[in-house]
């Protein structure tokens, strides 16, 4: 699903956030990405979703080399990926329902399909009662769950989650992680960046550990 070969990322300021990263994550796999604050976790996920472009090396996504892909193709790649952002990135002038429906609207689904799918996703995350509310009136954890619902609503091939439980209490965190596990079981590849060491240890998935932009342990063995 995801293959990095000698990927480096240097930000315009000159800071090298990732150095010479190589790993391979198979289709249908699930893995964690850890590291200290500023290690480069978000950067790595952004490279996969083509939000940032790598400065060296090659990235393959579902067999396609995306490191020098044309700008116009990017939206279609992104539609295959569900991304849960560290800072939610919700639209604060739309209801929870409209936020979750957005990926389907963008992809051009039909009205009826949209309603069905959105409600199913909201239900899974315990947000059905908040459907008509605006994100600003939700608690931090509820907003995070809206972001998760939006990421999974169009059944992506790949789910990228950046600190999806940063604002959740331990019980809810475990539930959400189990939900990711369920997605994985129906064939979705899942990569989760988190610093919740306890949680990682309690679950039996391979771990990619980043340290100052370098890979300390890889998922290769798991592949």
């Amino acid at each position: 699903m995801i293959r990095f070969t000698n990927v480096s990322k240097r930000y315009p300021g000159g800071f090298e956030a990732l150095t010479n990263i190589s790993f391979h994550m198979e289709k249908g796999a699930m893995a964690f990405l850890t590291g200290h604050s500023g290690a480069g976790k978000s950067t790595l996920l952004k490279l996969i979703a083509l939000i940032e472009r790598c400065t060296r090396g090659q990235i393959f996504l579902d067999g396609e080399n995306v490191s020098d892909i044309h700008r116009r193709r990017i939206p279609y790649i992104r539609r295959k990926i569900g991304f849960i952002f560290q800072d939610h990135h919700l639209l604060y002038d739309r209801t929870v329902y409209d936020n979750v429906a957005l990926p389907l609207v963008i992809a051009g689904y039909r009205h009826q399909d949209i309603g069905r799918r959105v409600r199913a996703a909201l239900d899974k995350l315990g947000l059905l009662s908040k459907e008509r509310m605006y994100p600003i009136t939700l608690s931090g954890g509820e907003q995070q769950r809206v972001g998760i619902a939006r990421a999974v609503v169009n059944k992506p091939m790949l789910l990228l989650a950046d600190e999806p439980t940063g604002n959740l209490d331990p019980d809810l965190s475990r539930e959400i992680m189990q939900l990711f596990g369920l997605f994985n079981e129906v064939g979705v590849s899942v990569l989760i960046a988190t610093h919740d060491v306890e949680l990682i240890h309690s679950m039996d998935y391979p771990v990619l550990a980043l340290d100052h932009g370098r890979l300390a342990a890889t998922a290769e063995d798991y592949a």
Binding site: H70, R72, R73, P75, R79, L102, G108
Partner: protein, 327 residues
Amino acid sequence: MGKRRNQRVARSRLQDWLPRLQHPRIYLQRHAQVALDSLGRMYRNPLPSLMTAAVIGIALALPSSLYLLLDNLHRMSGSWDGQASLSVFLKEKVPAAQRDALAGRIRAWEEVASLQVITPEQALDEFSTHSGFSTALEALDENPLPAVLVVVPQTAHTGPAAAEALQKKIKLLPEVELAQLDLAWVQRLNAMIEIARRGILLISALLALAVLLVIGNTIRLEIQNRHDEIVVTKLIGATNPFVRRPFLYSGLWYGLLGALLAWLLVSAGFWLLAEPVAALAGLYQSDFTLQTLPLVTLGVLLACGTLLGLLGSWLAVGRHLSAIEPS
């Protein structure tokens, strides 16, 4: 290798586009929905939307009303065209019959639009009532005035050169004592219309620019305003046309609404001006009235408004949207 890659890219592009080709109805539906959404967004913030539309309306109303005024002036000056005429004084000894025959001949020339015969008696009448010399002239035993033919050239010949050519041609006639060309009025009118034309062109250009700027500016600020939304939609797979569409529709609506307002303003302005214009016309003993607003003005206004709106938002979108990329 390169070829295989190209093939694969081509195939996946086709896959991306396929839904649109397969479901043209959904595609059109989506367009209609975006158009309505943009309208709804304006409707939900009626005051600011009206403010923008009002500015556009004012900017569109001014050149249209000026143009309409110039148009009316032109029509009015048409009733003055008689002034751009030749006064042909016949020799004193020319008898009435010969005079009328001559009038008939000249009237038939193609460069002549109309011809009016003023007999010596009529001339004396008119002269004494208009000049204030009535008592003085009454003292005369005999009518000292000759017959006059007032010749109005065809419009095509009213240019100074053509009118002068006509004058020369008439002068050569044996019955004619004198052919006087009243060029001053033509020149004055031309000079005035030239000034007005330049002024209106200048104003129109400036105001069209103003409309473009206002719409461009509004759309630009709207884009900045919805910066986060644009980033987020791009992050979850929106294409550039998808992001662009609502702004283009906004511009279109603004232009259209502005044009409608402009029409209302022009109508109101004409209504306000009707009274003094009638007073002025009365002074000129003219039956001139302001032409009621032709419906074609509405059409032209709407077309211009919509086009300027689209163009303005297109420019703003082109400049500012591509700059917004998630990072």
